[in-house]
Amino acid sequence: MIRIGIDVGGTNTDAVVMEGTKVIAGVKAATSSDVMSGVVAALRKVLEASRLPPSAVDVVMIGTTHFTNAVVQRRDLAQTAAVRLGLPATASLPPMVDWPEDLRDTIGNHGYLAHGGNEFDGRIISPLDEDELLGIAADIKAKGINTIAITSVFSPVSGEFEQRAGEIFAKAIPGVHITLSSEIGRIGLLERENAAIMNACLRDLSATVIDAFRRAIAEAGIRGKFFLTQNDGTLMEAEFAKRFPVLTFASGPTNSMRGAAFLSGVAEAIVVDIGGTTTDVGSLHLGFPRQASVAVEVGGVRTNFRMPDVFSIGLGGGSLVVESERGIKVGPQSVGYRLITEALVFGGTQLTTTDIVVAGGRADLGDKAKVAHLSPDLVARTQATIMKMLEDCVERSRLSPEPLPVIVVGGGSILVDGPIAHLTVLKPEHFAVANAVGAAIAQVSGEVDRVYSLAEMGRDAALNDAKEKAVEAAVAAGARRDSIEIVDVEDVPLAYLPGNATRVRVKAVGELHVR
């Protein structure tokens, strides 16, 4: 099977062609403002390098920051209605109460509270009131809004009210986009609701962007299927991604970590992704990034997404090196993509980390003579500073006492030479395009997060039930059933609740089923 992986970043669009587990070609192209032409350019370039005809490509996987950036920059967002089911509970805080004002204004602040919702044990808070929902639907319709986020209290325990309300709205407002919070998030009402609303406000944009990707792929002559990558390193079909654009958030760091695991053949490791300006460090478990346990903000909005637990510092191949009485300072200022004109070795005037590495004789880039004047002492001390910065990040991300290897990827990988924090460093082939490789190899997942009463069914039965549901979710998302594995099981006893209530999270992952 021939696959193409593409990572559309803010600066570069990277692409790789893979046959089975082999990387045939990898390229970098500039990201274009219209996204599509950059993707077309990257596709042409990588096909040319691979010497394969477009017709040989079976499948294209795309990782994109487009939707994250739309929220961060408050552009191309639709007017959105946020309907919460749970009255009389939760009336004290309306939807979007903790959003930055400019973002709330951008999507119109159309929040509605209605009856419905469940208790933690599945009992009903109040019955759904169809007339009330029809009244809200009339208001939404009158305002000309065509996308609705529906969030019901404890919908991760029972999603029935959200589904019924969705049906009522879909019937009352033909063609309306419906986003159900239970399909996106986990327990934590405000955070899950926030994610659902962000998803809803991206639905118009997702239709446009995903159609643009589709056209770019067609224009390159490729007739295979295409997928988008999610923040947990797994795939969703293009049509599914149209409905759930929010699931692409943070897929960039995830893809590079997954790519690092794949290229190095190591599943338990720390990954250090060094770019031009920043370094992202995270840890791999069973080949997947470990996820953050605390609320993650996107564009100033609190969410509880499945985000990789990545720690970032301002260190990259373009970071400026400044010497003062207080010692040597590396970053966070950086020349970024202007490295090839502004660094000393490239005839520029800025002393960067890349210059230090060349002066130290550990890389051969640009004109070595232009850094010959740097004192060996400065070079040695700067290199020590860089290693110390990397060591601190790696130590932070280490989650077990075992001596895990450190996989170094990204364009700025030349900064690393030798072990970090006494851990072996691996620099796999094609390290510069690890993110596109991560997209190309992405698998398919299903996840469950719910509260079980262990007094009623026992821990083993609860875990088995959750595992079965996770496997079914993976199959529904497009995984081949016989390839599915359970990659993550977490059970946390909940304080103060009777019947040994326990929150169980299970994630199942399988190979993409290509028909």
């Binding site: 509970a89 327990i187 006893p493 609740l497």
Partner: protein
């Protein structure tokens, strides 16, 4: 109304919630939802004055209000808004008194905010003090209960309009049992008001100044972050706390016994403590700290885990392998350390018969 004390402003709410989370000693629930609710009320024009303990006359009545239930439910099914307010009105009616202020039973965690919210709704001030100076898991563990506050009439209210009044309850342990049972039936998130207390009693038994203390801790944390100073050092300097251990969590063992999450965190030392090992016993909150097998800090003194780099307080629910922590100890108020109090909140009361409380000296 007294003009003593000070008005809470919107700018106080974030520092108050940070300080409250820190005084939660790993438990007490997340004050985030409560902070937002308070902010909404202040934006709608409510105002709340924080009164020192000497402001009100002896015969004024004060109501202890707070949320009762499970912290995880509080972030999913949060309040209709007036649960505590209805519970407070119910105890006024049952006791035949009008209250002049609210007070927190537990400054640590989400119950720092609830009395502020009720006060804002009722147009009352709050008293600058609380019943613990920290967080503890059960109703009877407050100084009010320890020093003889009446357990009834108390009331519990849900978001649906149900209000249950406990007309006669013989002691605080029965109150805890009944209230916990009703709270679970109400969906494990409810508002609770305990029998009104007279101001002369509050003056004698409240841990004083803890609202101001939480605010001051929060301001210290925010200020240290803004100026990129070491948050842990600054918190210690402000509060008189001391760092007892610095290290990396190498194991967290948990189990659930009788509805309470018990466990133990094992920490391998770094820096000054390299080669040493610390253990922290947990039951919702941090209970006992041992360093190399020697008990160093124990309840009721405060044991607080701060994330080493950011100074962020770490709750026992999110403690996990690999976190780098500074374990700080802060002496509890003297009211928490009398023989009478230690029977309820000392190490033996939490199931450590082998430990005899040794007070932490103030730094």
């Amino acid at each position: 109304m007294s003009d003593k004390g000070y008005l809470l402003t919107e700018a106080d709410l974030l520092p108050l919630s940070i300080g409250a989370a820190l005084l939660g000693t790993g438990g007490g629930g997340n004050p985030y939802v409560g902070m937002l609710r308070t902010r909404e009320l202040l934006r709608q024009g409510a105002s709340v004055r924080v009164l020192p303990l000497d402001a009100l006359p002896d015969d004024a009545w004060v109501a202890e209000v707070g949320g009762i239930g499970a912290p995880v439910v509080g972030v999913e099914k949060f309040e209709e808004g007036a649960e505590c307010y209805r519970a407070m009105r119910a105890i006024e009616e049952a006791a035949g008194v009008k209250v002049s202020a609210t007070i927190s039973g537990e400054i640590g965690g989400s119950n720092a905010m609830e009395p502020v919210i009720t006060a804002a709704q009722a147009g009352l001030p709050i008293i600058d003090g609380d019943g613990m100076g920290r967080a503890f898991p059960e109703v009877q563990m407050s100084t009010f209960m320890i020093y003889g506050a009446k357990a009834s009439p108390s009331a519990i209210a849900d978001e649906k309009g149900n209000v249950v009044v406990f007309k006669e309850v013989i002691d605080m342990y029965w109150l805890e049992t009944f209230a916990r049972g009703v709270a679970v039936n109400m969906g494990a998130a409810a508002g609770f008001a305990i029998a009104p207390m007279r101001m002369d009693f509050i003056r004698r038994t409240a841990v004083p100044g803890t609202v101001t203390q939480a605010l001051s801790i929060g301001h210290t944390v925010l200020d240290a972050r803004a100026k990129r100073r070491n948050v842990v050092d600054q918190v210690c300097a402000t509060t008189g706390a001391k760092v007892f251990f610095t290290g990396k969590i190498v194991d967290v063992r948990r189990e659930l016994i009788g509805g309470f999450a018990r466990g133990r965190a094992i920490i391998a030392g770094v820096g000054e403590w390299t080669g040493s090992e610390a253990q922290i016993a947990i039951q919702n909150e941090n209970l006992v700290l041992w360093v190399d097998g020697v008990p160093k800090v124990m309840v009721p003194d405060l044991i607080i885990n701060l994330e080493l780099d950011t100074g962020e307080p770490i709750t026992t629910e999110i403690l996990h392998y690999g976190q780098r922590v500074a374990v700080i100890g802060l002496p509890a108020h003297d009211l928490m350390k009398t023989p009478q109090a230690l029977k309820v909140v000392g190490p033996k009361a939490f199931g450590y018969p082998e430990l005899t409380y040794a007070p932490l000296a103030a730094a």
